[in-house]
């Protein structure tokens, strides 16, 4: 019997499903904050705990703005670098990676196409549950009119299937 390692299995999956491997991205920024309203702080790495959330983040500690509406599929949230560029280009809004209030800022990852799919963030496996919706809460905190421009590109909510340490620079790829 031959036991294949994860990378080998991924390679086989890639051969069988060229569509699923048509993208590969990278983790550019990682952020968390311990309580609602407090600024997000940048970290070189975050500890993701399967089935629970991010160590030290407000939603694991039930101290987030939406903690009174617990949601299994919001254990980690992602956001596209490309959206930050689009806001600057199309709306003249400078939104910084620490301001969108999602945990993981990625580049080269088509987040809106991943709902219902599992994919890898470095060594971690997540399952995308739904698109994030923008909220007035962010406008209130930032004082920037980002609600409308973020409709349909406000990030992705995910459940953590296999946890571990996520680092800036990690590769994001289909499973």
């Amino acid at each position: 019997m031959c036991i294949l390692k994860g990378d080998t299995m991924d390679a086989i999956a890639a051969e069988k499903s060229p569509v699923a491997t048509s993208w590969q991205g990278v983790v550019r920024f990682l952020h968390k904050t311990p309580r609602a309203f407090l600024p997000m702080r940048s970290f070189p790495e975050l500890e993701l705990i399967a089935g629970r959330g991010i160590e030290g983040d407000r939603y694991l500690q039930e101290t987030g703005f939406y903690s009174h509406k617990p949601e299994e599929g919001r254990q980690v949230t992602l956001f596209e670098m490309e959206t930050l560029e689009a806001l600057r280009r199309d709306h003249g809004i400078e939104l910084l990676p620490e301001e969108h209030r999602r945990n993981v800022t990625v580049e080269g990852v088509p987040l809106n196409h991943l709902v219902g799919r599992r994919f890898r963030l470095g060594e971690i496996i997540v399952e995308a549950t739904r698109l994030s919706t923008p909220c007035r809460h962010i406008e209130e905190i930032l004082g920037k009119a980002v609600f409308d421009p973020l409709i349909n590109r406000s990030g992705l909510n995910c459940k953590i299937i296999a946890g571990g340490t996520l680092r800036v620079g990690d590769i994001v790829r289909p499973l």
Partner: protein, 316 residues
Amino acid sequence: MAKPIKTVSTVVSRIEELGNETKRFILVDQDDWELPPFKPGAHIDVHLSPGLVRTYSLCNEPEDNRRYVIAVKRERDGRGGSAFLHDRVREGDHIGVSIPRGGIPLNLTAMNVFVAGGIGVTPFISAVRHLERRGRTNYTLYWTSRGGPVLPDMIRPAIEAGRVHLYDTTSEAKPVIAEIVKECADSGFAACCGPEAMLQAFESAVENWTDDRKHIEMFTPPKRIAQSDVPPYELVLVASKKQGTVLPEVGLLGTLEAMGVDVPVSCGGGICGACRTRWVEGPPIHRDRVLSPAERQSELIVCVGDCAGPKLVLDL
């Protein structure tokens, strides 16, 4: 289930007696995390107890982002906020505060003239510290107080450098505000915070100035998210047997919250549908981007909704 979190959680790390019936309170995050950012001279609502919310200017500058510093003078004839802070609040207490709002629109290149009366100096302490931190000296603060000033330690270098003019009104005449603002009559910026008579004198002195060159510091209500532009109407909730009046400045959602109705609001902007509610009588005004025309016949997204008639009846 956790309760909705509506304020920034802070801890009173230090209380100092400043004399002249004034205390300084230092508020920090329990883990010394950065606090929500603010502009020079911004203010916060301090939630002291249910129904007791008071607004105070921040004395520290935006770069000093791990604490909120407020100075509170006991108001003998006040409504209870300053007395609560002076008599009941202790170091180590947890206090919820709002996100900071407002601020003084400083002119970074031309002259800034600040006119303060008594404890009204607090937003200018913040502004002076902000300018000094940036190495800017393009300002003068005129500060009158009855007796010695209470916060000089926060702007000591500026005082020693002669950029702050102090007037003890127990022993000297008050400055003439019309003369003070002449310093930047042709260009620059002037701002005032103090007792009513001082504000009136200032307003009169800068009456002909353009709005962007003058500022009267007053505590403004929070920016409204969804401004209601309809006349007041009656609100009836059939399930909970409650009724009230929706005023334009409060709005439908604000009225529901004031009535103690727990509406599951999420986005607050009419796109997520979390606060979808059945309506019985209206007609309602729909401003959402969620409901179909058919759904609007019986449902309303209350976070952005209103009523086109005199009465709105909801199934809440």
